[in-house]
């Protein structure tokens, strides 16, 4: 027990609920993702059966729509990225020389939120009908007004996606902090193994793209649950064709979704690219040709991915100049990709290839990706897209690229299986699986190019195309069958496989192969270092020596601030990084061991699951749903509190490479990364407001939609309150630095009081607006009145929610300060302040936009 720091052995079930270790969590991710692959795969087989003949005679119309929509969502969200992040969890710390992620409990929380979000998705099938509006969730089709029946299942799916997004955001913050704070000595960013590099770039894209998706989902959920009208063309019942009073409704969703959606395709593909590059290097025995350019290309694609989204909107009413610009950027993004493809081909040409299973899958992925990429370029041309949009050409294209990604990841599964399990799989059977897989894949998707005139997402199609669809269905079952071979192989090899040893692959050089299979709990036999150019493990003495030398030489903080600060603690979905700030920084005296077990992440996520399930049905007024929401909320909140109080040690590394964040302590870096995603979240909310207002007519808006009673004064008062509270937070810091307990407490209590004042003032204002009786607004001005009221209440409401979270943290800190905390160490207050000032800054823009202009 003591040896494993409170973590039960792997054979014990309780270990898997408690663990915060990155390798355990990596395995959990892999298995869970494979489960969702089967889930989504079975749905696909069902509707492929349906498509043997044109017509909905097997699943029925609604059944077909549900199967297609949830298949897409499950595969894109719950299978492919989490599968990649199973590898990322397991390997990134090993590859960069860290003993775990920066915030292990947060990592466990990400996993449990992910699992429970998937379960919520599963439960939605039992709420009448589940979501049936296509994985792109276009509006207004997916607002309750247009969903047949009660639509509770659809709401659950939207909420499940919100929960999933929360998991992704926490994960992004965690990975970025890890990779910038915990690299082994001497390991520059550009030198980390290519898989980890690809994950680094993936996570950067995730941080920003998923924040935009979160905004879109929150707005959609609000239309579902609160009754706002963002995605409704006409609110007063006139027809939407002639007299829309929210003309931006549908395009708003398209912009928000695709601003996320295009980066998402690279988020899906980059980890696969990383796996391919690793396998190509190992199995050709060559370093990646043009590695530097490969990396530069990846960086370019990651940035460019945010400026191509409108190629998904060529058939909407956006203007021609913008379409042309986006056609150009789309052509631009395929260029760096070409470079990467050539680099892989050239590596292969120059090396001596060994056709092992992982290599076969990687090579297969490359071939499929080339076909997918070329057909994508067709779609990127406006004129061609006018023909292809909404047809099976698109379906074929994106399966060739996305499932190419999955193909590489299956290669990765074979590649790292010996590392993870210590056993070798059956090579022969693996190669056979590849053959069956590749055949099935092409038989499934290639006929779709030929039958491209089939309308997408529709179960009827011209009789003449039936032969191609029958072929595709057969291909689908062959593809499915190949997985049975894989599962059999990997399962049986757990017992019968030969021992793999530390490194079964000649020429595999990244650090995970330098330790045993599976690696020990804390990864390395000493502190990893590349200072001499190759991997070494330093003993405690050398470390102590080097730390001293570094501080003596004025390297400062970087090398000396190790050994303090606990793992980020309390977390609500959005306030994750926030709350980390209030975690007491446990001073760990040298030898203190890292913690590896906590039950709270599981409980928090369970509570979140119950809450969201409850929320999905509150609009029916049912007591069951209402009480689930209430009880779930209590469980979530209670376990967050428990998590904050739990002592948990995740020491910073004594020596590490930390460019370019060397003097930014890990909690602070975590907070800043989180805030960067929050900037995009609020940015997307404000952007949505600007967009629907432009669509309506910017200046007519104020006159037509906003009552005269909506005046500037309450906003101005709230601006004063928030500015003053921000000022008090910095004073609390100053007081803590000077070790004035009274000053610290007073400033924090003052902050709290001002924040409460802000909320009360806002509450009064809202009450007043809800109940006005003017000629223009005889029934008050509430959430559903018009698009202006919807944007006003939701955007300032989101801000109010941020204030509320801040106040809870502030109250907690005031109590701790009263008990003597923070004196002489103001860091926790500083981190809380970062969040609080951010909330203040947001208000600085909401105030003019919603009160003056």
């Amino acid at each position: 027990m003591s040896h494993d720091h409170g973590l039960p052995p792997k054979s014990s079930v309780s270990r898997w609920f408690l663990t915060t270790n990155h390798k355990d969590i990596g395995v959990l991710y892999l298995i869970t993702a494979l489960f969702f692959l089967v889930f989504g795969g079975v749905l696909a087989l069902l509707f492929r059966l349906e498509l043997i003949t044109p017509g909905a005679d097997l699943l029925g119309q609604m059944g077909y729509n549900q199967a297609v929509s949830t298949h897409g969502l499950l595969m894109v969200f719950w299978f492919i990225s989490p599968f990649a992040f199973g590898f990322a969890n397991y390997l990134v710390p090993l590859q960069i020389g860290a003993d775990d992620l920066a915030f292990p409990r947060l990592n466990a929380l990400s996993y449990w939120l992910y699992l429970f979000s998937g379960l919520l998705m599963g439960v939605s099938f039992f709420q009448g009908t589940t979501f049936a509006g296509g994985w792109t969730m276009y509006a207004p089709l997916n607002t309750p007004a247009y969903i047949p029946g009660e639509g509770l299942g659809a709401t659950s799916v939207v909420l499940a996606l919100i929960m999933f997004t929360a998991a992704v955001t926490l994960g992004s913050v965690n990975f970025l902090t890890t990779m910038y704070r915990m690299r082994a000595e001497g390991l520059r960013m550009r030198d980390i193994p290519i898989f980890s590099l690809s994950i680094n770039l993936t996570v950067w894209m995730m941080l920003f793209a998923f924040a935009a998706l979160l905004a879109a989902l929150m707005i959609l959920a609000s239309d579902h649950i609160l009754g706002t009208t963002y995605f409704q063309y006409s609110i007063d019942g006139t027809t939407m064709a002639t007299d829309a009073d929210n003309p931006g409704a549908s395009l708003l969703w398209a912009h928000l979704f695709w601003f996320f959606g295009h980066p998402e395709v690279y988020i899906v593909f980059f980890p696969a690219l990383g796996v391919m590059a690793e396998c190509f290097q190992t199995f050709t025995g060559r370093r990646l040709v043009g590695r530097k350019w490969f990396i530069i290309s990846m960086v370019l694609v990651a940035i460019q991915s945010f400026v191509v989204w409108m190629h998904h909107m060529f058939l909407t009413g956006i203007n021609l100049p913008i379409k042309t610009i986006f056609m150009a950027t789309t052509i631009g993004i395929s260029l760096p990709f070409d470079l990467m493809v050539f680099s892989l081909i050239y590596t292969m040409a120059k090396g001596r290839v060994r056709f092992t299973t992982p290599f076969l899958f990687s090579l297969g992925a490359l071939i499929l990706f080339i076909i997918g990429g070329i057909t994508g370029v067709f779609l990127g041309a406006i004129v061609l897209d006018y023909q292809f949009r909404g047809t099976y050409w698109v379906v074929a294209h994106f399966h060739y690229v996305m499932v190419a990604g999955a193909t590489a990841l299956f290669g990765g599964l074979y590649y790292w299986y010996p590392k993870i399990t210590g056993k070798m799989y059956n090579e022969r059977l693996g190669q056979i699986q590849f053959g069956v897989y590749f055949l099935g894949f092409n038989l499934l998707y290639f006929p779709m190019f030929i039958a491209w005139e089939t309308p997408r997402r529709v179960f009827v199609y011209p009789e003449s195309l039936q032969i191609w669809h029958s072929m595709a269905t057969v291909g689908g079952f062959i593809l499915g069958a190949s997985f049975l071979l894989m599962f059999y192989n990997l399962f049986v090899s757990l017992w019968r496989g030969e021992d793999a040893g530390d490194n079964p692959w000649a020429y595999a050089t990244s650090a995970e192969w330098a330790v045993s299979s599976p690696p020990p709990l804390e990864n390395f036999p000493g502190v990893p270092s590349y200072a001499t150019g190759k991997l070494e493990f330093l003993d405690d003495e050398t470390v102590a020596e080097r730390t001293e030398r570094a501080s003596g030489a004025g390297h400062g903080h970087a090398a000396t601030d190790g050994g303090t600060a606990a793992d980020g603690g309390a977390v609500t979905t959005r306030a994750a990084a926030t709350a980390t700030a209030m975690e007491p920084a446990h001073e760990t005296a040298g030898e203190e061991h890292a913690s590896h077990a906590s039950f709270w992440p599981f409980l928090v996520s369970l509570g979140g699951f119950v809450t969201f399930l409850g929320l999905s049905g509150v609009r029916t007024g049912s007591v069951v749903y209402l009480s689930m929401a209430a009880i779930g909320g209590l469980v979530t909140f209670g376990s967050l509190f428990g998590m904050t109080r739990e002592p948990f040690h995740a020491p910073e590394m004594a020596i590490a490479e930390r460019w370019p964040f060397s003097s930014v302590e890990k909690m602070k870096l975590g907070m800043w990364t989180f805030l960067a995603s929050d900037i995009v979240l609020f940015g997307a909310f404000i952007g949505s407001y600007a967009f629907v207002r432009v669509a309506y007519g910017w200046t007519a808006w104020h006159h037509d939609l906003i009552p005269a009673e909506h005046v500037t004064m309450p906003g101005l008062i709230n601006t004063y309150l928030l500015l003053t509270s921000s000022f008090l937070v910095v004073l609390a810091m100053v007081a803590a630095e000077r070790e004035s307990k009274r000053g610290t407490v007073a400033a924090l209590v003052g902050t709290f009081a001002l924040g409460v004042g802000f909320l009360i003032n806002k509450g009064l204002e809202w009450q007043h607006l809800f109940h006005i009786h003017s000629e223009a607004f005889p029934n008050g001005w509430n959430l559903s009145t018009n698009i202006a009221s919807s944007t006003f209440y939701l955007t300032t409401g989101l801000h109010g929610a941020h204030v509320t979270i801040g106040l809870i943290i502030c109250a907690y800190m005031a109590v701790r300060a009263w008990n003597g905390a923070y004196q002489g160490d103001d860091r926790a207050i500083e981190y809380f302040g970062l969040y609080w000032h951010f909330v203040d800054i947001v208000w600085l823009f909401l105030f003019p936009l919603f009160y003056i202009l």
């Binding site: 912009h255 900037i679 995009v680 940015g683 404000i686 967009f691 921000s726 302040g833 203040d840 105030f847």
Partner: protein, 88 residues
């Protein structure tokens, strides 16, 4: 930074917020909307930069932290700007 510096910033922020309201009370929003718009937004930007630079200490952090924040902001602006332009 000591409390005096923080106080100076606070006073400036307070004054700018007031100035924004004054622009409205003076009727500029009615008479010259886009000028008022520009003035008010510029004041907001200056306030935001002030809070970030001094209260959030960005001035004293490595540049990379500022780039992180600017990155998020640019992403949000790109979305807003291009989306709005697409329907003009």
């Amino acid at each position: 930074m000591d409390w005096k510096g923080y106080t100076v910033i606070y006073v400036v922020l307070f004054a700018f917020a007031t100035a924004q309201a004054v622009v409205e009370f003076a009727g500029l929003v009615e008479s010259a909307y886009w000028i008022a718009f520009a003035v008010i937004m510029v004041l907001s930007v200056i306030k935001a930069v002030g809070v970030a630079a001094y209260y959030q200490h960005l001035r004293w952090e490595p540049r990379a932290v500022t780039y992180l924040v600017v990155g998020g902001t640019v992403a949000a602006l790109a979305l807003t700007g291009a989306a709005a332009y697409s329907i003009l």
